[in-house]
């Protein structure tokens, strides 16, 4: 019981994930920048978990969040769920190669994965469900990712110390 209640970094990340998810699925249209920032944080967080804390429980977590985003944002099921589940398989196969990289290289890899993931989500929603492609939002999210990723990366490395 005591060990269940004790907070470790994995549990902290999951609490953060719930909070960020709740924010992005709720109405933030008055301040779109807040929404975009949290959208980027959510993706970075989920990738960070997949890369550094890979375990089988994550398949269930990814499944729930993928399904949740699809239902709340698109009212259709597909793009996020497919991309999240595929990404976790990719992390399972590729994380062993990341351990040889320096901290900065891993950071760059995380950004590339995040941008690829968002692009895939948009492409899958376009091809599977005929959703339109909005270049403005896309650029906004790309820029926010580049701006926010480093402070988030630093913040997460502090959380990692809670073993």
């Amino acid at each position: 019981m005591h060990s269940f209640l004790r907070l470790n970094s994995f549990k902290i990340y999951n609490i953060l994930l719930i909070i960020v998810f709740s924010i992005i699925v709720n109405d933030n249209h008055s301040f779109p920048l807040i929404y975009t920032a949290f959208y980027c944080i959510f993706h970075f967080l989920i990738i960070y978990l997949g890369v550094y804390y890979y375990r089988k429980q994550l398949y269930f977590i990814y499944f729930l969040y993928g399904l949740g985003l699809d239902i709340f944002w698109l009212n259709e099921i597909g793009p996020h769920l497919i991309v999240f589940m595929s990404m976790l398989v990719f992390f399972n196969l590729s994380t062993k190669y990341f351990y040889n990289l320096s901290s900065f290289k891993i950071y760059v890899v995380l950004i590339i994965i995040q941008l690829t993931m968002i692009s895939f989500e948009v492409f899958v929603s376009f091809f599977l469900l005929n959703f339109s492609f909005n270049l403005n939002y896309f650029i906004q999210i790309y820029l926010s990712t580049l701006l926010l990723s480093f402070p988030i990366f630093l913040f997460f490395s502090k959380i990692d110390k809670y073993k």
């Binding site: 301040f31 499944f63 944002w73 005929n130 959703f131």
Partner: protein, 273 residues
């Protein structure tokens, strides 16, 4: 013996984990497949998601909502003086229109009685508040706080005081999703008030304008023409204000919707009488 038991339980746990992961992938595949083919299962999943998860996410994100509301209040307060002046001018203008409207309404009633004509007013099913608005990256959706419990079903028109807002595309027990007219996948049959030329509109990808996807007999309207619902699709009742034509090109035109989609608070779900 103990070592063997521990190894066995580890193997069992590992195989159980693999089975669980495979099950999740199978479920993912089935959900994506059912999304295209079977509406019953997917609707159940969506209903559960919206009805159960929404209150939880609202509770968790309430601090952010409070901060956002405070920010909005401060912004409103800064514009207080200018808004007041604008409103005073608008009241004077509206009073003139009110006199005219009362006169026209009286005349209208008398003419209708003389012609013995029927009216095509709308039936208001429910006035509801907007509880969520999707971010707009993928689709332009809002969630309203009434569903099947108030007889709100799929494909009902949604309006507000300014005009047409959208149509319901999904209803759970307590909530419904509304597809806004500025979504690129929406399709609104409209006609011009001036010469009754018919066309179909859908949203542009940035969600600011409406664009014509079809015009009957290639009759394009003029800049400044008012567009109202034609009533052809049987979803939207006739003569609801939709947009104003702002740009006409060779084979299509752009219109600016009357509804401010960033300030949707209360809407009405309606159907034709």
């Amino acid at each position: 013996m103990l070592k063997k038991n521990i190894t066995n339980s580890k193997v069992k746990r590992k195989s159980l984990g693999s089975f669980f992961v495979s099950l999740l992938f199978l479920l993912t595949f089935l959900l994506v497949l059912f999304n295209k083919t079977d509406y019953f299962v997917v609707n159940k999943v969506k209903s559960f998601g919206i009805d159960v998860i929404t209150p939880i996410t609202h509770f968790i994100s309430s601090p952010i909502t409070i901060v956002t509301n405070i920010g909005l209040r401060i912004r409103d307060f800064q514009n207080f003086k200018n808004e007041n002046l604008k409103l005073k001018e608008e009241i004077i203008r509206l009073k003139k229109w009110q006199t005219l409207a009362i006169k026209n309404s009286r005349e209208n009633r008398v003419f209708k009685r003389l012609l013995n004509s029927t009216s095509h007013e709308v039936d208001i099913i429910k006035t509801v508040s907007v509880i969520d608005q999707s971010p707009g990256m993928y689709s332009k959706l809002v969630t309203i706080n009434a569903g099947l419990n108030y007889n709100i079903e799929k494909n009902l028109a949604v309006i507000n005081e300014k005009g047409l807002v959208g149509k319901t595309i999904f209803s759970s027990n307590k909530k419904s999703k509304v597809l806004l007219i500025n979504d690129p996948t929406s399709s609104i049959p409209v006609k011009t008030l001036s010469d009754n030329s018919y066309s179909i509109l859908s949203g542009t990808s940035n969600g600011k304008y409406l664009i014509s996807t079809f015009t009957k007999d290639n009759e394009l309207p003029k800049v400044g023409d008012l567009l109202v619902t034609s009533g052809n699709a049987k979803i939207f009742p006739r003569d609801i204000l939709v947009a104003k034509v702002i740009k006409v090109s060779e084979d299509r035109y752009f219109a600016l919707p009357y509804v401010d989609f960033n300030n949707l608070n209360y809407v009405q779900v309606v159907k034709s009488k």
